[in-house]
Amino acid sequence: MAEPNGLRAEAGSAPPVTAVGRLAVAAEGRGGRPYGPAHRDGAHGPGCGPAQSSRRNGGQPELPETRKPRTLPAWVLALPPLAVLGLVFLYPLALVARQSLSPDGSGGGSPSLAAYGDVLGQAAFRQALRTTVLIATGSTAGAVILGFVLAIVIAFVPFPGGKALARFIDVFLSFPSFLITLALLFIYGTVGMANGLWTDALGGTGPFDFLHTPWGVLLAEITYFTPFVMRPLLAAFSQIETAQLEAAASLGAKAPRIVRQVILPEALPSLAAGGSLVLVMCLNEFGIVLFTGAKGVTTLPTLVYGKAVLDGDYTSACVVAVVNIVLSVGLYGLYRLLLSRTRPAGGPRARA
């Protein structure tokens, strides 16, 4: 690469350029011309660059090298984000994976799958895996159905306060998950309102223990994650032309057909995006399970917590964590595959 100041010195038409001056020259070279690629090739648009250059150089042909900015190779620019990603995210994950493969639990020695054999053979693990998948898929299904219905009502059925409710959805997304669970305790907990009504209605029958069952976890997760489905759906619905809905109605379609054949196909990518997000979040949900079902419900994240923090068995905890990661990535990959096959051929116009 030619030195800009060296060439300028040869031309004898520029003052000495300091280090700061070089930066300024490079900046001018990049920002002074809007047609970057043509400039780099030395080709200028008709009647644009050359006339100005000639004036600046007193009619002398311009030396393109003097304008060439000093650029770094792409791999150098990619290094900082890669380093941060590796250090902050990938390296700890690699440590977890290494720990899961270390027979002595210290990370030394040759890798072994013995710990995997031990953990995967435990009934507690299999039960946790089953519970995790069932609760996650159930919660996702519930959140998708409820979210779709609520989003349809908010977006297409005008009612007072509808816009305020839509805005509240955004606020709801910022709430921590345990807060929702805590709130549910006041309704469904053993001393909650629902139990009070139940006891009053049936006299001597004791309070029902609902929240500490998988159904309680399911309810809490559906309650908490439904807005995560609604948000992208509301964005998608806002892009559907009212004229389409009116055209469908004028052609004789009733509301259910319009929802099924006009709205749903256009919102499908957003529904899938919201659903997959909820699925992955449900698979890895910790706070809700800890608050509600921890006594009777064990999922993979709570199993990791139990093995690592309560039992001090880090190797087993890492094995469960790796399985959890594989499960999440696998289900996400499955979602991408399904999405690519279900995407409307007309183009995903209403994607959030």
């Binding site: 004229a243 009116e246 469908a248 004789g252 057909r257 054949q261 007309g346 183009g347």
Partner: protein, 350 residues
């Protein structure tokens, strides 16, 4: 045969009245254009027929049946809108079949009707394409085919050509005229702000302004014998000049006594004289006025010359001139008595 009747239809949003006491009858098989500027209430009138706005007062009838409270899907009207409103995830044939499927038509009938509608609109070759693979004009044809496939008695067209460029618009206008000839039983309500579309296509034009119906008549009536200044200026271009009636068949215009039909106008009454620019000639003739040239526009086949006559602007649209007058030149213009119409001064008849 199905006609449309508005009986005192008023639509209001709060205190804002967007359609005020519209009473209008569209005869079966007729093409009625609702012509007016933005905010004149023409689209609201159309939407009240489709069932998408509920009148605060008045009734809407389709084919003699009161449909004021009827849901849109029960009205059996076809609707075509400016932005096409095709379903992007459906192919062309599925779009056209949508209405028939919604009405649970037999499968064999659907195939036949879809083919027929696509054939009629010249889109049969594009049946398996998606809307995004079509041009604007083709999408609008599909929208028309979709509306016609259900064989509606009434076809509502809301600015259907506004999104098309000038050349496509002209072609589609001819297509719509052909469709009307082929489907003489279909009553069409055509909303537009474009006078050319209204003049070309409509059997009658309802001129609307500020939520009210201002005038209604055949295109020829409205163009040649407008009843209000608004109609005169909105349906075609017009020279509107203030005059005073000086006698039977005589009015004073810019200090000159000119001969025009005055009807029963009283002596001394003020009125507005309407003369179409293409009926004004350059040079001396009957009803000659003298003034100075303020603007000359070349329009290909014609020249448009604006002349200031005693403070009033008179525009003459004449065949292309070999020698054009210069700005400031003193010229004379003239018009025939029978080409002038005397209108109530400043009145809108509304």
């Amino acid at each position: 045969m199905t006609g449309i009747r508005f009986e005192g239809v008023t639509v209001a949003y709060g205190d804002n009245t967007v359609l005020d006491s519209l009473s209008l009858t569209v005869e079966p098989g007729e093409v009625m254009a609702l012509l007016g500027p933005s905010g004149s209430g023409k689209t609201t009138a159309l939407r009240s027929v489709a069932g998408f706005v509920r009148p605060a007062a008045g009734r809407v009838f389709i084919g003699g049946r009161d449909v004021t409270g009827l849901a849109p899907h029960r009205r059996g009207v076809g609707m075509v809108v400016q932005q096409y409103a095709l379903f992007p995830h459906m192919r062309v044939d599925a779009n056209v079949a949508f209405g028939l499927r919604a009405q649970k038509a037999p499968r064999a009938m659907i195939a036949g009707r879809v083919a027929e509608a696509l054939e009629m609109t010249g889109m049969a070759a594009y049946a398996k394409r998606y809307p995004r693979e079509l041009s604007g004009g083709q999408q609008q044809r599909v929208a028309i085919a979709r509306a016609l496939a259900i064989r509606p008695g009434v076809l509502l067209l809301d600015e259907p050509l506004s999104a098309l460029d000038a050349q496509l618009r002209s072609g589609m206008l001819a297509e719509l005229a052909r469709l009307h000839r082929e489907l003489p039983d279909v009553t069409m309500l055509y909303v537009t702000h474009d006078q050319v579309e209204a003049l070309t296509l409509a059997d009658r034009i309802a001129v609307m302004d500020r939520a009210r119906l201002r005038d209604c008549g055949t295109p020829q009536e409205l163009y040649r014998r407008p009843r209000t200044e608004f109609t005169a200026s909105f349906v075609g271009n017009a020279n509107l000049l203030p005059v005073t009636v000086t006698g039977d068949g005589r009015v004073g215009l810019a200090g000159t006594d000119v001969s025009v039909p005055t009807g029963g106008a009283a002596h001394g009454a003020t009125a507005t004289l309407c003369v179409r620019p293409h009926l004004v000639g350059l040079g001396p003739g009957p009803n000659t006025l003298r003034g100075r040239v303020t603007e000359v526009q070349w329009r290909g086949a014609t020249h448009r010359v604006a002349v200031e006559v005693d403070g009033h602007h008179v525009t003459a649209e004449v065949r292309e001139l070999r020698e054009t007058p210069a700005l400031g030149d003193e010229v004379t213009v003239h018009f025939a008595s029978e080409d002038a119409v005397l209108l109530p001064a400043g009145g809108t008849n509304g």
